[in-house]
């Protein structure tokens, strides 16, 4: 093994410093030791040199919302299998959701995830811990101890905490430890029994609708509590135009709030459900095309901070059911960047904005040192071929579950190499 790694002639894009220029990056062992504009100088003797002409060199992606099946449902996905999928998608760090079996609501379990990840995973795994004990929506968990054990944020995962009193104490107590709270936005009474976006499609298919207000009412409530408690609040994922407006309004007066959007809601609309295609049953549901366009506009305006995969592996049994009985969720670690690049190719969002939403913005939310290309930082990096054409094929899916909403989709742009701490952990074409 060489001591040094030099990636030269790359188009270096670093959203943290707004850098977009041709240059080279020198890595020693696990860290970036030099960033050079233009022509690379002569490298030290024992250097692996990669000529990245025509490729983009960017910070590794940080995915803030990933469900695995470990512990408890390893047949769906393990930390190891998710990390391989992540590596192929250019994701060098991801946040695991706490709704596993057992639920991650105890410091010992956070520690378990971290140790399992170290032993088995190729990428950095950042555990979130349950906002409420056992995800019961009522009793806040031990935020201090959980933080000490290594939890990066608190969330009830797929569940939306809806008790205003619980939320208020959760926010107030999390503020104590300066930890972010991430709440899934779904009013139980209005939307929890729903199947798809409440609209003409739902009516025609005879499915129960999830109306906009099932998302906007909890969002509005959470943001009022966030203003009151000054907690760092992150709306897990919004899906509609009204939510973008609400976020924009609150951001004018509150600097501690942010929100995310799933790559699914950014890429697809309700029409994909077609005739009861359960792979497109998601929470939040795919909404109208107008909503999707509003989400894209929200990404451009800065209302939306983070794009995540909402990676949610489901086995065949969970999806091969009548629509109302089928599980929510789709895998997303592998197609995350390629799907997001569609917005770049359609000239709707520039490359810097797309990468910012998956690197420095999540790093800021979670107070991570990664997500940037900086001398002294860990060399978590990706090389992207923006114009690489491919078709998503089921047999090529790395994730243990195959419930992809992008199956057979045509994509342009893919991760060619992924580096974690200076080590090449993924190379396109090598398994």
């Amino acid at each position: 093994m060489s001591n040094y790694l030099l990636i030269k002639n790359a188009r270096i894009i670093d959203p943290a410093s707004n850098k977009d220029e041709i240059g080279a990056i020198l890595v020693k062992k696990s860290k970036i030791v030099d960033i050079i504009s233009g022509q690379a100088p002569n490298a030290p003797q024992d250097t692996t040199i990669i000529d990245a002409k025509g490729l983009v060199l960017a910070p590794g992606l940080i995915d803030t919302r990933v469900f695995t099946g470990e512990p408890g449902h390893e047949f769906r996905e393990t930390l190891s299998s998710a990390s391989k999928a992540a590596a192929a998608g250019g994701v060098t760090s991801f946040v695991t959701m706490p709704d596993t079996s057992p639920i991650i609501d105890d410091a010992a379990l956070v520690d378990f995830i971290i140790r399992r990840a170290k032993a088995t995973a190729k990428v950095n795994i950042l555990p979130s811990a349950a906002m409420t004990k056992g995800l019961n929506g009522r009793d806040i968990s031990e935020y201090g101890l959980l933080k000490q054990a290594g939890a990066v944020c608190f969330s009830d995962g797929r569940k939306s905490v809806s008790s205003t009193a619980t939320l208020k104490s959760a926010f107030t107590y999390a503020k104590n430890f300066n930890m972010p709270i991430i709440n899934h936005l779904l009013d139980e009474g209005l939307g929890a029994n729903g199947d798809v976006h409440a609209g003409l499609m739902a009516t025609g298919l005879g499915l129960k609708g999830i109306p906009y207000e099932a998302e906007t009412i909890p969002l509005e409530r959470d943001l009022q509590l966030a203003a009151l408690t000054k907690v760092r609040y992150h709306g897990a994922q919004i899906s509609c135009a009204n939510s973008v407006k609400i976020i924009e309004r609150h951001k004018k007066t509150n600097k501690n709030i942010s929100c995310g959007v799933s790559i699914n809601n950014l890429s697809l609309n309700e029409n994909y459900v077609g005739s009861y295609r359960t792979f497109f049953k998601l929470s939040p549901p795919l909404r109208s095309e107008d909503d999707r366009q509003a989400l894209i506009a929200g990404l451009n305006s800065g209302a939306i901070d983070i794009i995540h995969s909402d990676h949610d592996p489901q086995d065949v049994e969970g999806k091969r059911r009548p629509f109302a009985e089928a599980a929510n969720g789709a895998i997303g670690l592998e197609p995350l960047l390629s799907a997001a690049l569609r917005l770049y190719h359609s000239e709707q969002v520039d490359l810097m904005t797309i990468l910012r939403a998956m690197t420095i913005n999540p790093a800021k939310l979670l107070k991570l040192k990664s997500g940037r290309l900086k001398i002294g930082a860990k060399a978590d990096m990706i090389l992207i071929d923006l114009n690489y054409p491919f078709v998503v094929k089921e047999q090529e899916i790395i994730s243990r579950s195959h419930n992809s909403v992008f199956e057979r989709a045509k994509m342009t742009g893919k991760v060619i190499k992924t580096f974690v701490k200076g080590k090449e952990i993924f190379t396109l074409g090598e398994s």
Partner: protein
């Protein structure tokens, strides 16, 4: 009379008396049918009426065929109707009622499909409480599948029998005004009827309190009324829907008596429709909740006739899918 039955007398009719071969493997919903196919099925059904009344005349076109009625939801009339229709055509009919816990439903459905398929039936008639479940099952079997109701999605044979009943009385469908009243949001009968009637150029109205109207309903019917008195004006057909008891407990409708007061069909309200309007109901009725017994059993009611048309329609559909009318 309608166009295609004129044609059928002059063209080379198949043994089932229709000039068309029915070009579908399954009947999953009205949505899959075009106007010509709807008229064809109604014509076939109409020919079944006298035959069905006189068993000696029946050509047993389903002789030796196996029909399974797979009902995941309780049903007396629909299941019996399909059973009688199949037996009159000579089929071996097996009834299966599958009561399931809600959690295991999906699993049961797929497993059941594989099991039944291995027994090589010719047609499976399915009712299920989940929208789309019948279509899912149809993808797992090699035989024909008829949707006998899937959740709040479709109930195609009900819509066909309703249309046949209307056509018998009004001699046409085109240009009529039909009002569908009641729990539109949760009704598969309403959806199938709206699709069929729209395809036949009927002016469709829905009448219901807003809590029972689904989103976007205005795009799939001509007029929406929340006031029943206004909605009934000039209608040729009043189609009442059953109000499920669980909806009257307060969440969507405050009480049965309030519902009856504003949306029940009584004599006074019926008088607001055309004088020769007919009254329909897919059954089973809640007398005194959505309909006054005097109206249900009155001179304008064709509710019992709908049941008879149901057998004829189901005979026609079975024959079209697996009997002589089927495309070979």
């Amino acid at each position: 009379m309608n166009e295609s039955s004129k044609h059928s007398s002059s063209s080379k009719a198949s043994r089932s008396g229709s000039p068309y071969s029915f070009n579908h493997q399954h009947l999953l919903g009205i949505a899959q049918l075009n106007q010509v196919e709807i008229v064809d099925l109604l014509d076939r059904a109409e020919k079944m009426i006298p035959v069905s009344r006189n068993p000696q005349q029946i050509k047993q076109t389903l002789n030796g065929k196996t029909q399974i009625n797979l009902f995941f939801e309780n049903s007396t009339r629909t299941q019996s109707s399909f059973e009688i229709a199949g037996k009159r055509l000579g089929a071996i009919v097996v009834n299966m009622s599958v009561k399931t816990s809600s959690a295991a439903k999906g699993e049961t459905l797929i497993d059941m499909a594989a099991t039944l398929n291995a027994m090589s039936p010719d047609v499976i008639v399915v009712r299920h409480s989940s929208a789309g479940a019948v279509e899912l099952l149809s993808q797992k079997v090699g035989c024909s599948v008829i949707n006998a109701g899937d959740g709040a999605h479709e109930h195609p044979t009900q819509a066909l029998l309703d249309a046949l009943t209307i056509r018998k009385h009004k001699k046409r469908l085109n240009g009529l005004i039909v009002a569908i009243c009641g729990d539109i949001a949760n009704s598969r009968v309403a959806r199938s009827n709206l699709m069929l009637l729209n395809a036949m150029n009927v002016r469709t109205r829905v009448i219901a309190p807003k809590t029972l109207l689904p989103k976007g309903i205005e795009h799939i019917c001509a007029e929406v009324f929340t006031n029943m008195d206004k909605g009934l004006k000039d209608v040729d057909v009043v189609m009442m829907l059953r109000l499920q008891r669980e909806r009257t407990s307060g969440a969507l409708v405050p009480s049965e008596r309030e519902y009856y007061h504003f949306y029940g069909l009584d004599k006074r309200r019926l008088a607001l429709a055309k004088s020769d309007a007919i009254v329909m109901h897919p059954g089973p009725m809640n007398r005194g909740v959505e309909i006054d017994p005097l109206v249900a059993d009155g001179a304008q009611s064709v509710i019992n006739e709908q049941v008879e048309m149901g057998v004829a329609v189901r005979m026609a559909v079975l024959d079209a899918l697996v009997g002589n009318g089927a495309k070979k």
